[in-house]
Symmetry: C2
Subunit: 391 residues, 2 copies
C-alpha cells in the first residue's frame, strides 16, 4: 500500500512538472470568489483562520517548483513529508501574515530550473559530469568519499515557496514570501548506479546549522528577484524530513523572518514531534500516557468487529504535549447500518478513552475508500461524525 | 473501477457469510455506550434523529442474512443497491419506530439458510436438480421458457431484515421489525451455463403487485417465529433495484405496516427517483433546471485545475423535487495547499450555482483516496468543509 502511494505520488509529481508548460485552463472570468480585484479573484473563505487562495484570470496559480526534489536516484519520496511540510509552512506563515490581510498563492518566484540548480551540490573538484553540481547549489560539494560517516551528505532535499498577496488598489501585490527548507535527517545514497542503498544520518544540530546558512543565501537571492522589494518580509522555516519508510511526516525545527535586506531576524526554535502509534520494535513512545490511552482505545474498537484490519495513529506533539491525533481505522467492507453503528461506537470509545486536550480526527476506511470520519476540536466535548452514504 | 468495487463487495459478502459461525469478539464488557441494560449496551448517540446500535455481551450483533442475494449466476451485484436499500429501510423505519424509543439491531431472525430458501423459486414442474426451487420460495416457479418476454423472471433478489429493540426491565426486547424486499427491475439470466446474458424487464406495476403478495407471506411466516409477538409491528418496504451498471442505487416504491396478525396495513406509495448527472445518451433528465445547474457548476469547477478527471453526481428526487445531491469530483494528486484552495473554490461555486433547497455533499477524491469534502444541509446557507490532512 505504502509503495503504491509512493509510486502514485512520484507519477503525480512528474505529471505536475510535465504539465507546467501547457496549462490549458478555460478562460472563464465569472467570479465565484468573495472578492475580486481586477484580474485577480479569490477562492472564497471556507472557515475562519484560513487563507483565501488567489485566482488570476480565472486560473488557479499552480506553483512552478512544487513537487520538485533533489534529483538523485534515491530521493525520499515520502508523501507525508511533502504534505506536512506544506501545511506546516502555512501554519508558520500565519504567525507573520494575518489571514485577514493576506491571501495565499502558490510560489511563483522560483522556477523549476532555478529550484533544480539551488537543490544541487556546489561545484567542487569531485564533481562528475551529469551531476547537478553548479555554482548556485545550496548543498555543499562532494568530498569524493562514499563512506556513510565521511562523505558530505545532501542536506537540502526540497524547497517550498509560498506567496502571500495583499490587495493593492485594483490589483494584488506580493506582500510576503514563505520558504520551507526540506532538510534530510537521513540522506539515502548509492555507491554505484542501481547499487545497494546506503544512508548518512544527519543530526538535528547539523540540520539547523546548515539550514540557517542556506536561509541567508536564499533570502539574499530572493531580494534580487523581480517583484521582491527590499522590505518584503521573507519567512524561512527549517523542516526536518522523516525517513522514507515513516508513516508520518517530519516537523519544522525553527523559523525566522527577514524584514529587509539579507539579514535574518531572530531564529525561533520549534519543539514539535510526530510519531506513529502503536510504537513498534520496543521503541519508547514520546508520551507513555498517550500511548496507553491509544492502546486501550484500539483494543476497545477492535472488539466491535471481528475483521478490523488495523488501528493506527499519527500523534503530533508540541512542546512535549499532545496537540493532535489522526487515527486511521481500516475495516473490511460492511453494510451501511454497520458503518453507522461502528462510527457511533468509535466516537463513544474515543470520548471515553482519548485525551480531550488535543484535536482528534478518526478516519474509517475500507478497501473501497473512506466510509466515515469523526472529529473533535481541542477542548470540545463531543465528536462530529459523518458517514459517507450514497443514493 | 466499477468492476473492482463489485468484486470487492462480492468477496466481502462471502467473508461476512463465512464469518458468521466463528465470530471471535473479545469479551470485553466495559461499556462505552450511553446506556446499558443487563447484557445489552448501545453504541451511543452520534447525532439527533439516528438510532443507537445494540451491542450484546460486548459484541455488535452482525446480521445473519445481510449480503445474501438470490444465488443465480447473474446476480445484480451493484453495491449502490445494497447500500441505498439499507439506509432507505432505516429512513422508512423512522416513520414507525421513533429513534427516542427504539434502538437498532441488524436482523437476527432470518438465518442464512432460511433466507436462501425464501429467495428461491417455488417448486414447479420445470424445477431442475441443483435449482434452489423449494416449497418456501417466494419467487414463482419457472414456466420452462427462456424467452425474455415469456419466461417467469426472478422478482425478488434480496431480503433485508432490521430489528428495532426496546428496553424491557433490565434487558432489551424486540419492539419491531422492518423488512426490505429487493425487487428486480431487470432480471439478468443465462440460457446455458456460462452463456450470454439476457434480461427480462419488469414493470413498476408488476414489482408492486408481486412485492405486496410476498409481503403478506413474509409477515405470516415471521409471526410464527420465536420472539415475534402477535402484535409486534412489522414494516415491509418494496425496493426496486437499479440495473447492474447503474452508478446510483434504486428506490423504495411503497411500504406498509402490519400491526398484528398477518394482515398488512394500508400501502403508502413512495415517489422517489435517483439519477446520475450528467445524463448520457441523450437521456431526458428528471429535472432540467437541476441538470443545467449541475452542468454550470461542473464547468466552473473544471476551469480551476487542468487535470480534473471528472465531476459526477447522484441526484435524489422526492415527489419530483430535488432532495439530495451527492457530487464526486475526481482529481489527480495535488499538494495540500492546492486541495485547501480547491475546496474553498468548490464550496463557493456550489453556493452560487447549486439549488439550496436540497442537501448537498461534495466528495473530492484522488487516486490516493478522499482528499476533502464539503456539505450543506437543506436550507442551510453555508457549506461545512473538511480537508483530510496528515501530520
Amino acid at each position: 500500500m505504502k509503495n503504491l502511494v509512493k509510486a502514485t505520488a512520484a507519477v503525480a509529481a512528474i505529471l505536475l512538472l510535465a504539465g507546467c508548460g501547457k496549462l490549458d485552463f478555460s478562460n472563464d472570468n465569472s467570479s465565484t470568489g468573495t472578492s475580486k480585484s481586477g484580474q485577480y479573484q479569490t477562492t472564497g473563505v471556507a472557515s475562519d483562520g484560513t487563507y483565501q487562495g488567489v485566482i488570476k484570470n480565472g486560473r488557479y496559480q499552480v506553483s512552478k517548483s512544487r513537487g520538485l526534489m533533489m534529483q538523485n536516484n534515491n530521493q525520499n519520496g515520502n508523501t507525508f513529508n511533502v504534505r506536512s511540510m506544506e501545511s506546516g509552512l502555512v501554519s508558520l506563515s500565519q504567525k507573520q501574515f494575518s489571514t485577514d490581510k493576506y491571501d495565499f498563492e502558490e510560489g511563483q518566484l522560483l522556477s523549476t530550473s532555478v529550484t533544480r540548480k539551488w537543490l544541487g551540490r556546489q561545484k567542487g573538484k569531485f564533481s562528475k559530469s551529469g551531476d547537478t553540481d553548479n555554482a548556485l547549489g545550496l548543498n555543499p560539494a562532494s568530498n569524493g568519499s562514499t563512506d556513510p560517516n565521511k562523505r558530505v551528505p545532501i542536506y537540502l532535499q526540497q524547497l517550498l515557496e509560498q506567496d502571500y498577496m495583499v490587495k493593492s488598489g485594483n490589483s494584488m501585490a506580493l506582500g510576503g514570501i514563505s520558504i520551507g527548507l526540506g532538510m534530510n535527517a537521513i540522506d539515502y545514497y548509492v555507491k554505484t548506479q542501481y547499487g545497494a542503498q546506503y544512508q548518512t544520518n544527519i543530526s538535528a544540530a547539523e540540520t539547523l546549522r546548515m539550514g540557517k546558512e542556506m536561509a541567508a543565501k536564499v533570502v539574499t537571492r530572493l531580494r534580487q528577484m523581480k517583484g521582491v522589494a527590499a522590505n518584503t518580509p521573507i519567512l524561512v522555516g527549517i523542516y526536518r524530513q522523516a525517513g522514507q519508510d515513516s508513516l508520518v511526516g517530519g516537523t519544522y525545527q525553527a523559523y525566522a523572518v527577514s524584514k529587509s535586506g539579507s539579514t535574518m531576524g531572530t531564529w525561533h526554535g520549534i519543539n514539535e514531534q510526530n510519531e506513529v502509534l502503536p510504537v513498534i520494535n520496543n521503541k519508547k513512545p514520546v508520551n507513555n500516557t498517550v500511548a496507553t490511552d491509544f492502546s486501550n482505545f484500539s483494543a476497545q474498537v477492535r472488539s466491535f468487529f471481528p475483521t478490523l484490519a488495523g488501528v493506527t495513529a499519527q500523534a503530533h506533539y508540541e512542546n512535549g504535549q499532545l496537540a493532535g491525533l489522526k487515527i486511521t481505522i481500516n475495516t473490511q467492507f460492511y453494510g451501511q447500518t454497520e458503518i453507522n453503528s461502528f462510527t457511533q461506537y468509535v466516537s463513544s470509545a474515543a470520548s471515553k478513552l482519548l485525551p480531550n486536550s488535543a484535536k482528534i480526527e478518526i478516519d474509517i476506511e475500507s478497501t473501497q475508500g473512506m466510509q466515515a470520519y469523526a472529529e473533535r476540536d481541542t477542548g470540545a466535548k463531543t465528536f462530529t461524525t459523518h458517514v459517507f452514504d450514497s443514493y
